[in-house]
């Protein structure tokens, strides 16, 4: 069932519940699907990303593991190579630092090195992002690390509807998928959220959202903002403020970084002639630069009215203090300022 033909009830769900609903429906549909990770069992995940599944499916299919990230991902690889469909949770994306070899050299490369013979239908889930003053080791997104490594698909949902449909697609995909959920979007009752991001309409029945198809969050004529994960919501706040000032903003949410909807992004930029890319990852050598380069490579067919601008973390670890964290991580006000700067050009 695709997202075009939903017939059942639609409720408002927070993102974490939408994600869990997709996992539950896939576990019920396919006995090869199982979850493993730290605290995913009885506790239901530190971020409720598997809540209720332990009770429903039992300790075999919703497995608590020791604090052994290399084992979690390595076991997932071996099980996937034998036809299981593991969902392995890393809790904080920062923890990929303790098991990077399994991602970089093993999960990402096995299918290629085997000439396509070995399939690894596994999903790695991890929470990302700042906003709660958790400091440099628990606030990163690392989008660029994953997107830069050939062989893994990268999913970055910004809302509950997409979170469910993308999770279903991820579980059914025969390639390894890194599914990154921003803590500030989960809708947990213990973390603040940006404006509209708390809960969105989610159909009860199972559906998929295809990878590589951007969503136009908001149509506009003057400037394109490419944003994903929590930055979508900061961009929406900024766009409303800009609208009051007479600037019409189009927001494009790629939803997946690998594969990336290059044509969707280019079409919007061609229409508006101005581009701002916003990311909660580090600036240099990252996703914002990649998207800027995609446009730069096509200036023969895209007429820009202004230089391309990027907003991301300016190559610093993420600071702890309440006075510093929002300075390091781009905010809606920074987006407004960047767009206003873009509007001063009319090349």
């Amino acid at each position: 069932m695709s997202d075009m033909s939903i017939t059942t009830e639609v409720r408002k769900l927070p993102l974490y519940a939408a994600m869990v609903e997709a996992i539950r429906q896939e576990m019920a549909r396919d006995p090869a699907v199982f979850c493993m990770g730290e605290d995913v069992g009885q506790m239901g995940g530190v971020f409720q990303s598997t809540v209720g599944l332990f009770k429903e499916f039992g300790a075999d299919r919703v497995r608590d593991t020791p604090i052994s990230e290399t084992a979690i991902l390595g076991f997932a690889l071996g099980a996937a190579a034998q036809g299981m469909r593991p969902i392995a949770e890393l809790m904080f994306v920062d923890f990929m630092g303790v098991c990077f070899d399994q991602i970089l050299n093993n999960i990402a490369k096995t299918t290629y090195m085997s000439g396509g013979a070995v399939k690894l239908p596994l999903v790695i889930t991890a929470s990302t992002g700042g906003g709660i003053c958790d400091a440099a080791q628990h606030s990163q997104t690392l989008h660029g690390f994953f997107a830069h490594t050939p062989g893994i698909k990268v999913v970055v949902p910004s809302n509950a509807y997409d979170a469910k449909g993308l999770m279903t697609t991820a579980i059914r995909d025969d390639a390894p998928v890194v599914y990154l959920f921003h803590r500030g979007l989960l809708g947990l009752p213990v973390m603040g959220y940006v404006d509209s991001s708390f809960a969105t309409d989610v159909p009860e029945e199972s559906y998929t959202v295809p990878f590589g198809q951007a969503r136009i969050v908001r149509e506009g004529a003057d400037v394109t903002i490419v944003a994903y994960a929590q930055m979508v919501h900061k961009a929406v706040v900024a766009a409303r403020e800009l609208e009051a000032k007479g600037v019409s903003v189009e927001i494009v949410d790629p939803r997946t970084l690998v594969p990336l909807d290059v044509e969707g992004i280019l079409a919007s930029v061609a229409k508006t002639g101005r581009l701002l890319v916003v990311d909660e990852d580090y600036l240099s050598f990252g996703v914002t630069g990649e998207i800027a380069a995609l446009v730069a490579e096509r200036l023969d067919r895209i007429k820009l009215k202004a230089p391309v601008r990027r907003l991301a973390i300016r190559d610093t670890p993420i600071p702890y203090s309440r006075a510093l964290e929002p300075v390091a991580i781009p905010q809606a006000a920074n987006i407004v300022a960047a767009v206003e700067d873009l509007m001063t050009f009319s090349l």
Binding site: G74, F75, G83, M84, N105, T111, Y112, S114
Partner: protein, 336 residues
């Protein structure tokens, strides 16, 4: 546990095949790598010749592979390392496609994308890995899949004593024991991690001692003896099949060649390899089989000739195979 006559003969013949394969590769590997046919100023060109890249040979370690794999079925899986030809051959990976892979040919197991450190054979359930220790948790995952499906398949993690100092080893043993997975950890002690001796790298005398820390049996098998390895592996594999959990076995083997081909081996005492060959596992088993009347001189000769013929045919197949088309470089990044 005692091997049957058929099992003894299988192990002997398979060891002959492995040895012939490795000795042949040792020669083929140097084709096109030495002066004067390489770039001026180089002593040795790793990237040139019939088989480019690094080459890690397993001659001297055959007993471990046959002692384990003689107990295995097709559905059992083996997860190896950068030095894994012996296990590949013992597990039944076809020599022709394996050789074509080493030459980077399209008929290779991986269409020329893996090379000798990354051999994958889904039909015979074999995989190996270029990162030390990385394959150990993969074997556990395969064992977990068997446990889920309630089959009695087992998985083998085979690795060197150097890998037992990697975190992946310790995480895997703990969790495999906790979940009673049908996996056997086969640590082959060839005394060196590249150049660093086990004495200089490892705080315990035998890695078998480390099993106690993970609540599983630890067994040490000395002297590069195929029959002793057969017995230890057989018990561990049966135990895993019965659902009683993993075992760690440390097998004392010898590495006749360098870490890689071209390794000057300055770290090795002079004459060490010659001394080690006095306990060669193939000759030892051969003597035993002759004494038992299972082999005579004619059969020994015939066995060696047959191994030569098989390896020769595989190399011919590999040499005659085509290189992949350029477009293949961009294929198989994701499963189709």
């Amino acid at each position: 546990m005692q091997p049957t006559h058929d099992q003894l003969l299988w192990m002997y013949r398979r060891m002959l095949l492995i040895r012939e394969y490795e000795d042949t590769l040792a020669m083929v590997y140097f084709e096109g790598k030495l002066p004067p046919r390489i770039q001026k100023g180089l002593a040795f060109d790793i990237g040139a010749g019939t088989i480019p890249g690094e080459m890690h040979l397993s001659a001297g370690q055959e007993a471990a592979a046959v002692g384990v794999c003689v107990h295995l079925r097709k559905e059992d899986s083996v997860w190896g390392t950068h030095r894994a030809h012996h296990f590949a051959i013992a597990k039944g990976v076809p020599l022709d496609r394996m050789s074509a892979e080493m030459l980077g040919k399209v008929d290779g197991l991986c269409r020329g994308k893996g090379g000798h450190m990354h051999l994958y054979d889904t039909e015979h359930n074999f995989a190996c890995n270029g990162i030390v220790g990385a394959g150990i948790p993969h074997a556990c995952g395969a064992a977990l899949a068997a446990q889920f499906r309630k089959t009695d398949a087992v998985a083998i993690a085979e690795f060197g004593e150097g890998a037992a100092n990697e975190g992946s080893f310790h995480e895997s043993l703990n969790l495999a024991s906790l979940w009673r997975l049908p996996v056997v950890f086969v640590c082959q002690d060839n005394k060196y991690g590249i150049s660093v001796s086990k004495k200089a790298s490892t705080a315990v005398e035998s890695n078998a001692e480390r099993a106690a820390g993970y609540g599983m049996p630890g067994v040490k098998v000395g002297e590069n003896d195929a029959v002793a390895m057969f017995a230890a592996a057989g018990e561990a594999i049966d135990r895993a099949r019965r659902g009683e959990g993993p075992t760690l076995i440390e097998m004392q083997v010898d590495r006749y060649y360098g870490h890689f081909q071209g390794d000057p081996e300055g770290y090795r005492p002079k004459g060490e390899v010659r001394a080690l060959k006095a306990r060669d596992p193939i000759l030892r088993l051969e003597r035993q089989l002759v004494e038992q009347g299972l082999l005579d001189d004619a059969a020994v000769k015939a066995g060696r000739a047959e191994a030569k013929q098989q390896v020769g045919a595989a190399m011919t197949f590999a040499r005659n195979s085509a290189y992949p088309e350029a477009a293949e470089a961009f294929m198989h990044v994701f499963a189709a």
